[in-house]
């Protein structure tokens, strides 16, 4: 199956899955709208508290996707899983990792004509403030801003990313804002980045 045929069929599959009542659980028993892309996996860097919270929430947010922990290095995950999934034409992923890990995944995804469709950088600012820089399709800006303003923003982010549209060609915008929820997540040097690759 080539890349182009897959894109068309995965949208169709997502729509029919929604029609069949497939859903993602956001948090505390809340059910949100069906995902608009087939999310294969949530990926998180287990070295960072915020990413661990993201991964835990991701596993609950979308019953069809699992979560995979990495320790900075994506070699095993990519060789053993992602590569096979992407060769088969599927495997959209959401993640929270370091920027360098995302860069590595982004370059590997290009081999399958996949790309980063949403990116949010989370950097420690002063005190408990976290600065977020979001590049996303317009439809995702409001839900992401709402998620990132929450005290448990890593978990909320996972839930929102599960609803991200795939490659719909919509224009993306970049916005920067801050939230006062950093201390709990020990945001120090690494700038973490959450993303969707589809």
């Amino acid at each position: 199956m080539n890349r182009r045929k897959f894109c068309a069929s995965s949208v169709a599959a997502a729509v029919s899955a929604a029609a069949a009542g497939h859903a993602c659980v956001l948090a505390a028993g809340q059910v949100i709208a069906a995902p608009r892309m087939r999310l294969y996996k949530f990926i998180f860097d287990e070295r960072y508290a915020a990413a661990r919270a993201f991964g835990a929430a991701g596993e609950h947010a979308c019953s069809s996707a699992g979560a995979a922990a990495i320790h900075g290095d994506v070699t095993a995950l990519w060789s053993n899983e992602l590569r096979r999934e992407w060769l088969a034409g599927g495997g959209a992923i959401a993640g929270m990792t370091t920027a360098r890990t995302l860069f590595c995944l982004e370059q590997l995804a290009k081999d399958h004509w996949m790309r980063v469709t949403l990116r949010a950088e989370h950097a420690a600012a002063t005190g408990p403030v976290v600065a977020h820089r979001l590049t996303a399709p317009e439809a995702m800006v409001a839900p992401m801003r709402s998620a990132l303003a929450a005290a448990d923003w890593p978990a909320q982010t996972a839930g929102v990313l599960a609803t991200c549209p795939g490659r719909d060609g919509a224009p993306r915008s970049t916005s920067v804002f801050a939230s006062a929820a950093g201390r709990r997540w020990a945001m120090t040097h690494p700038t973490l980045v959450s993303f969707v690759i589809a």
């Binding site: 080539n2 890349r3 182009r4 045929k5 900075g72 290095d73 994506v74 070699t75 990519w78 060789s79 590569r83 370091t98 920027a99 360098r100 890990t101 860069f103 590595c104 982004e106 370059q107 590997l108 290009k110 081999d111 004509w113 790309r115 490659r167 060609g169 120090t188 040097h189 690494p190 700038t191």
Partner: protein
Amino acid sequence: MKLPAGVSSADFASAIAEFERAVGKAWVFTSDEDVDLYRDAFSPFLHEPEELVASAALAPATTEEVQQIVRIANRFSIPLYPISTGKNLGYGGSAPAYSGSVVVDLKRMNRVIEVNEANAFALVEPGVSYFDLYRHIQERKLKVWIDCPDPGWGSVIGNALDRGGGYTTASYRNHFDSHCGMEIVLPNGELLRTGMGAIPNAKTWQQYKSGCGPWIDGIFSQSNFGIVTKMGFWLMPEPEAYLRGTVSLTRYGDLSAMVETLNYLENARITTGFPDIASPLNGYPPIGQVQLWNETGPPPMTEEHRKLLSSAKLGYSPELEAYGLKSGIPYWQLWLSFHGPAEVIEAQWQATQRHFAKFEHVKFSVVDRVKLPIDPSRAASYHEPELGVPSLRAFSIGARSPWNPTPSKGHMWFSPIVPRTGEAIIEANRVFSEAARELDMPLFRSFCMPACFWERSFIFILATPVAEDPAINKRYREGFKKLIAIGGQQGWGEYRTAPVFQKSVMDVYSFNDHVLQRFHETLKDAIDPNGILSPGRYAIWPRHLREKQS
């Protein structure tokens, strides 16, 4: 969409329609979103209009489709730029050397055609990455190793054609040297096979390199004379054991004799693994430990040590040397590796120690003594490429961390070749540190050690960062070009470079009024009269574009 210069939109549209008929509409990419994927992820023209970009991309699946593409390109004068997996980051990546070119993305041509265990060779297509070849070998439990660069995501053919290198033994580390036989689509669409492959039904295509008559393989490396669609490589039989040891020396003045001893041992094939020279007293790690340092941080350094380093000249001061002696920190540390039967490599290690015993205060240490094959799950305990295992851990280098709080947006590799002597290490540091200081370039800010990828010479491989600020990138590009020229004045040339610097690098190779350049152009005019293949790659321009460039 950026059209190729000199091509009308009508002709371009007609060419695209013909490309679609040749490879299938699904594999012709013209939307901005798709063509964006072929931008150089490390472009030194970040955010600038001069960034080299493609006009479209094609992804053929077979040699026959490549031939059709080339014939179409000739009819409509469309410049093409073939890439294998497009991972040549730091040396230009997937972006063309001539803006507006149509990228020919060969990654769908990803067959491992043959791996012959008994004769230890492989024949692959350009879309085969080191990971792909490694997996193929592991799945079939074949007892051969690959030699891969770091990271291992690149194309086996692509890396060899840009003359990259790896980390195992000398016979396999030089990737172009270890190839045997090629198949090429020429710019007129004809198919050529080199070496013994020029014999129909050849039986030794991957066993005997040069065939008969002129050995032309070299002209297809770092050039634009053809699109390589198959290439053979000699592989290392899986060694029985691996030993890695260190030789530590305490005096600055030991450097030259240490290099001479290493050279003898390498040239006599007493040590054949990747030699790695560190300077612990100067805080310079061996290449094999860099990713570990980036993951866990460099070893702690006392304030006294830091102060002594800051006042050292070309890595030396008597006080620094005395501090090293007192603290047990070696001035120089040579990491050597040995591959083979256990009894053989033990004997080689013993001989190595005997040759280094002449140095005062020398210390030897065995870091690893490993029976092979190791459990793949343990490969991460080592610098994997030295064991023929591809990895992506190199991406911890440059990652933001407490010891690297402002990582760059990418880098350009400055990689001059210098003589294999201790004197050359010091001289290169002197010349380039002075020049970098005057040019305000972030290179050679402290004493640097070269790498030993190649036998018989040293190479410095240093990263010039790509910044977010175009003004800084412009300054770095100009500084980089000046460093290339300064190296050339010393008789040192670059071994490989990104398209933005290819003219500057080739200008250094100016013997006899640039006769090499003129020879390349003569070949280009003969082989590719319409100038459709990778115009400008390594400063080889087709006639119709040549005058504009000079």
